[in-house]
Each structure stands twice: as C-alpha cells, then as structure tokens.
C-alpha cells in the first residue's frame, strides 16, 4: 500500500492529480461508510458504465458503501482477487467460475448476472459474411486463448468437428480481420463492429448465445465466506449497481461522455466507441425482473449449456436470495 500512495503522489507531481483524484473509490472516503471492493473483468470501458454511474451519482454512498473499484486486464483473473482477499466480489465468466467450483472445490457463489446473454460472438466482414456456426467450416477463426473453451462448446453443440475450423489466437487487434488475413474473430459483439465500421468496412456478427451457447456473462461472484460476513453490503451493492445501470440505460449516449475526463481518461479508446458499446449491450442486459436477475429458466440454460462441455453445474451454485431482497 505505501507504494500506491507514493505513486499517486508522484503522478500528482507530474501534474496528473486530476486523473488520480478522479478515482473516487480511492480518494474520497466517507468515514461512516462500510468499505467494499469489487474486481472488474477488464480495463475501464462501457462494459462497466453502470458501476461508474453509481459511483459518480453517489448510489453506493447512499447505501452506506465505500466502494473501491479495481480494473481488470489480461493477466488479472478476477476469481483470484476474491480468493486472495484483494476484493469482496468479482465479475467473472460463468464457465470458468463453475469449472473451478467443480474441479478445485473453490468456495464460490454466483449472486447475480450482469449480462443475461453473453455478448461474445463471431464477427466477420459483411463482404465475406459468416452468419452461423455451419459457415465457419474451412475458415480461419481468431479466438482469445481464454475463450477457446466457449468456441469448442459452440462447435460441439452445433455438431461441427473441431478440426474443420482453423482456430488461431486473437491478440486484441482487429487489423488481421479487416485485412482479410483471418475470416472471423471471436469478440464482444458490442464492441469490435464499431472499429470495423470506423475502418470503412461493414461488419456482421452472431452471438454464441443464439446458437445454443446460452450462458450469462460478468456473473457477480463472491466467496462463501464473504457471503456470510458481508451479506448486507452485497445486497446494498446489488441495489446501488442496479440503480447505476438503470440511470445509464435511460439514455445510452448520456453517461459515456461524462466519464471522458475521469473513468475513460487515457484508456486509449474513443467515447464514440463507448456510446456504441453502451447502446449495443443494453438489450443483452435488460430483464423484466431488473438488472442482475437470474431466473429459473436462465439458470437452467446455463447448467444445460455447461453440461454439454462436461462442466457439471448445479442450481446451488447460483444464490438468488440476495436479489430477492432488492425486489420492487
């Protein structure tokens, strides 16, 4: 911790105090509030806009929480942060979380789901479109190594032999797709089509979800220990976060520009991209029961999907009782 203080001081000396000061979770601590730390799944982008909105609009504070927000990155395994006690809750992909519970006996509980439909999909150029898993046969598909498990599941569910698709690594940059070196890539469909259209091409995409890979994404995961000791705080977090998402979705173009000099400062991405992302993710997150809802049908679909790739999920891994408390 002393290192962090030093670095902040250093950045302030370098004149970036504004940027560091704009991380309210770190700096402005209300004395009475209870501290709670969340580990996000990736760097700051629209995927987490609802949480930024809830922090900036004081929703966590109103619920008596002093939230610390930790950004993610390629080497950050969100589940590791909660096992190591660096964070109280993490946003994860359900397949990895559940596989860890099954294989390694990790004491995890899923208490909510940010995305009702997993936003990962197959993206290709409109001039050489790939509209279904069937059309992947004989094609080169770039997949981030951590997601190969999902693509293998998609192929298995649709009766396609793994050897019929040439899977290569996807290294975050869509240039090889735009230049035609690869035929398609696996990415968030809420994100990469924007870049492709910026480069003057048209993109088409389909969700893995729509072809049988029916999983949530950014599942809210805690350890059993935290669930026991910080239940009230977790309920408060769900409530404030839902309010943040609702505020953000009232007009998907309104919040991202507000974060331009704070949460989104220096991320290397454009605000237009975040607005596109925010608009595209809204239908994937909304549920009549409210954001984070995990209904019986959704849980059953997750269990069935994971069962097809040999991950034996059970209903007790999902704890919907916290969401019950914030109904209405």
């Amino acid at each position: 911790m002393p290192l962090m203080t030093n670095r902040r001081r250093f950045l302030q000396l370098m004149g970036t105090g504004a940027a560091a000061g704009a991380m309210p979770g770190f700096v402005s601590r209300a004395l009475a509030a209870t501290p709670l730390t969340m580990q996000a799944a990736w760097i700051n982008d629209a995927e987490f806009a609802g949480y930024f909105a809830a922090i900036d609009d004081g929703f966590y504070k109103n619920e008596g929480l002093d939230l610390t927000y930790l950004s993610g990155g390629p080497d950050v395994i969100p589940e590791s942060s909660i096992i190591a006690g660096k964070a109280d809750l993490a946003l994860t992909t359900p397949d990895t979380t559940i596989k860890t519970i099954v294989d390694q006996g990790a004491p995890f509980k899923i208490i909510g789901a940010q995305y009702q439909k997993n936003p990962i999909g197959i993206v290709s150029l409109a001039k050489t479109p790939i509209n279904s898993p069937e059309e992947l046969k004989g094609k080169t598909l770039a997949v981030p190594p951590v997601n190969v498990i999902s693509v293998e599941a998609l192929l298995a569910i649709n009766g396609i032999d793994r050897s019929e698709v040439n899977i290569v690594p996807y290294a975050y940059d869509p240039t090889p797709l735009i230049k035609g070196e690869i035929d398609a890539s696996l990415d968030f469909t809420t994100n990469v089509p924007f870049t492709i259209e910026q480069s003057g091409e048209k993109a088409v995409s389909f969700l893995l979800y729509d072809f049988g890979y029916k999983t949530y994404n950014d599942t809210v995961v805690v350890t059993e220990e935290v669930l026991k000791t910080k239940r009230a705080e977790l309920v408060a977090w769900l409530k404030a976060s839902r309010a943040g998402w609702n505020a953000n979705f009232a007009d998907t173009a309104s919040y991202p520009p507000k974060f331009a000099s704070t949460w989104f400062a220096g991320t290397g991405r454009t605000i237009e991209n975040e607005v596109f992302f925010n608009g595209a993710q809204k239908p994937l997150m909304e549920h009549s029961g409210g954001i984070f809802t995990m209904d019986a049908e959704g849980i059953a679909a997750n269990i069935e999907t994971l069962g097809r790739i040999g991950i034996k999920a059970t209903p007790d891994m999902f704890d919907t009782s916290l969401l019950e408390e914030i109904k209405g």
Binding site: D75, V76, A84, N147, V168, P169, K179, E181, Q198, G266
Partner: protein, 519 residues
Amino acid sequence: MTRLGDHIATGVLILLLLAAWEFAGQLKLVADGTLPPLSAILLRLAAEWREYWPHVGATLYTASLGFLIGNTVALTAAVSFCLWPVTERIFRGVNIAAFTVPPIAIAPVLVIALDGETARITLAALLVYFPTMTAAMAGLRSADPRAVDLIRAYGGGPLRTLWLLRLRAALPAILSGFQVAAPAAVLGAVLAEFGSGARWGLGTFLLGSLGRAEPDRLWGIGLTATAIAGLGYALSATLAARTTSLNRAVNIGIAGPEPDTASEAPVRRALLLAAAILMPLLIWQAMLLWADLSPIIAKTPMGVIDYLITGKTASSAQTRLLAALAETVPITIAGMLLGLGFAFALALLSFAAPLLMRALLPFALVTQTMPLVALTPLAVLIFGRGITVTLVITISVTFFAAFVVLAQGFAMIPKAAFDLVDAYGASTLRKLRLIAIPASRQWLFVAARLALPKALLGVMIAEWLATGKGLGNLLNQSRGYLDYGMIWAVAVVSILLSVLLYQLTPVLEWVGRSDRRSK
C-alpha cells in the same frame, strides 16, 4: 575520416533509412499499409501528446523504480559474490532462475501473488537484475592480475582490492550491463502494465488502443516506450564510452579465470550444488508463506509436484504439458541458434562498418522496446502464422543482449593488439579474422548465456500471439480454465527449460575449445 565526418555520415544513413520507411508507408508497400508512414505516426503523436504523458509518467515511475531496485540488488550481489565466492555458488540457481524466467510466464503468477503495483515493479526489477549482475561480475574479475598482485604485495586485502581496483576496472562492464538493463526495465514495466489491470502506463494505453485497428497509434506508443528506453541506453552508453576509453590505455582487459573448483573436496562440491538447487525453491516457498495466499491459487513447490506428478491431476497435466513441449522445444533450439548467429553477424558489422552499425542501432533498439503485441498484425500479415513468424519473433527477442555484449567485446580489444597488423597495412576483414574474432571468443559465451534462455520467451510470445500452439498457448488457455496448477507448472517448466538451455553454454564452450586445440 574525422569524428565530425563520422557523425555526419551516420546522420545521413539514418535519414536515408527513415526516408525508406516513410516511402514504404506512404505507398502502403508493407502488408497493405499496416506499416504506417513515419510522418503519420509523428503527426498523430504530436496531436495526442496530452493523452500520452500521464502514461509516460507512470511507466517512467515503474521502470525507474525497477531499474533502481534491480541494479542495487545486482551490484550488491556481484560484490558479495566477488568477495565471498562461495555465495555465488549457493545463489547460482537463484541467479539462473531470475534470468531465465520468461516474463510472460511469470507475469500472471506475480499478478496473482502480489498487488498490481508491486507486481509491476517486481517484473521490471527482475528483468534488470541479471544483465547488470553478470556484467558486473565479469568486470570485477577482469581487473589486471598484476595490479591485484601489487596491492596484495603491499598488504591490501580483498576489500582494498575491490575498492582500489576491481570496482574501477568493472565500471565499463557495469555500464554495458546498464545498456541492456535500461531497455529491459522499460519493457518489463510496459509488459506488466499491459497485463495487470493498471489504470495508467504505456502498457495500459497500448491495451486499450489495440482494439482500434489504428497502427499509427500503436507505433506512437511503441516509439514512446522506445524513446524512454533509448534515453536510458544512451546515458549508459555515453558513460561506458568515456570510461572504456579511459580504461583501455591502462587495462590489458583479459578476464580473470573463474575460481578453480576442480581441486575441491567432492563433499563440499556436492553440498554447494545441492544448496544452489534448493535455494530458489526455499525462496519460492518463503515468499508464498509471507504472502499468505490460498493454496488454490498459490502453488508451493510441493503443490506443483502434486499437480504434475503425484496428484489425481497428474496424468492429464502431463499429457497436455508434454504435447505442448513437443511443439515448443524444437523450434526454440532453431530460434536460439539463429538469434545468436544474427547477433554475431551484427557485431561483426559494427566492427567492420561502424558507421552503418551506428545508423542501424536505433532501429535495433526499436525491436527491443516496441511491444510485440502491437506488431502482431504486421507480423502475421507478412510472415503468416507458421514456423517463419515464430523464428522471426524469436530472433528479435534473442539477439539484442548478445549483440551488445559482443560489440562491447570487440570494443574492449586493446588498441595495441592491432598495432602490428596495422603496421603491415591489414584490411578490416583481415583484422577481423586475425584478431577480433579470436578475441571475441570469450565474449561469445557471455553473449550465448544472455541469448539462449531468451529463445524460449520468443517462442512463447509467438505461440501466444500468432500460432496458438505449444507452451505459450497452454499458459493462456489455462488462465481461461482457472487451472492455477498449470499456470504455475508452465512457469516452473519454462524456467527449468531455460536453465537447461543456459547449461548448453558450457557445452558450446567446450566444443569451441577443442575446436581451437585441433588447429
């Protein structure tokens, strides 16, 4: 030619190379325009500089702290090893492990075990430690033995020899170590920022920018990292050049022999070897005890053995690991030979055509600090996703450290050695053959030690970014499966494999010697 004339000629050459880059960029000659023209990169950099400098500040902070800590540890270690040679034997395993560990294998482990900031500084320091430590050791041992005898004859002990002689004699070598360490610190910082969820830093900026498919931005970030690294390199190089020219007049510059161990009692040798092997494991175990982490994520040495050999996961883990090794090892060996060959060729060039080499040097430095992930589209568009791209990436990762050592070796050849052949009017080639190449032999082995273990890193990067095979891919897939046992196992196996490659150097040395004897 005059000194000024030299500088002008180098400048003209650099300008010509830059013009060729601009031309290729403007006409979209390389990979359908994936290599942007230099002017586009610089204009964009100028337009966006406000966005850059918080990132530059953060990277500078991480890299300089890593540089400082890594060098402090390295110099302290080198002096201790020199004063008490037995400590060097005990820490040999730690030294080799610290050097050979592939950063992309250790980064996830560091991020799991430490908090983000500490993980970043640790990675930068780790990459700094070995180049400085070995260079300092070589320098400390290179003191003129006649001068050592003189101090001894006047009653000076090891400390006095160290202060009066060895440290001064070692200065050029230490500074040449800094030349490697400075870019390494920047690279370590950027790599760690990229992975660890840092809010600021050039690595973070790069990660966010990758999704935009705008090569000029990526090159802007890479060149900024290069500029920082180049500054560190230039400072050390300038200092090194000064002290070398001062030293050359008085120093014969023949490295002293390594302490003789042949006459030692076998029991003592065995004990020291056992200590050297156990030491890294002890440190590993102690660090985990100190960090107090859950056994699910933090695997101890016994935890890894259980995962790989004795536990119920063993057979599946072994199958996957062996399959990955079968893909990775052969190409690593090919890549390391090519990388070393490339370094030697460049060093020869720097001797035979110093002007051209000085002009090429900035471009060589770019390959060291330009994050490879930013160049992936360029690499796969030009070289595809097969063996070629892996070899190219491996050469680019391996050659630089070896080259610096070899070039320094050529520069350390005493001027007096050339006087005779000069008097007979020998050509540059003849000088190379008669004096420089034979004299560079001892440096070739130092260079090989720096280059060989890096080959595995190069191959793993290529597997991670382009080919999706072998150990690099296994590591990344294991993250997706939260297979912590495999993440640790890959880190350990990749260190062991690199140690094995490192141990090839004495074999090469032996081959080299017998080769000389037969003449």
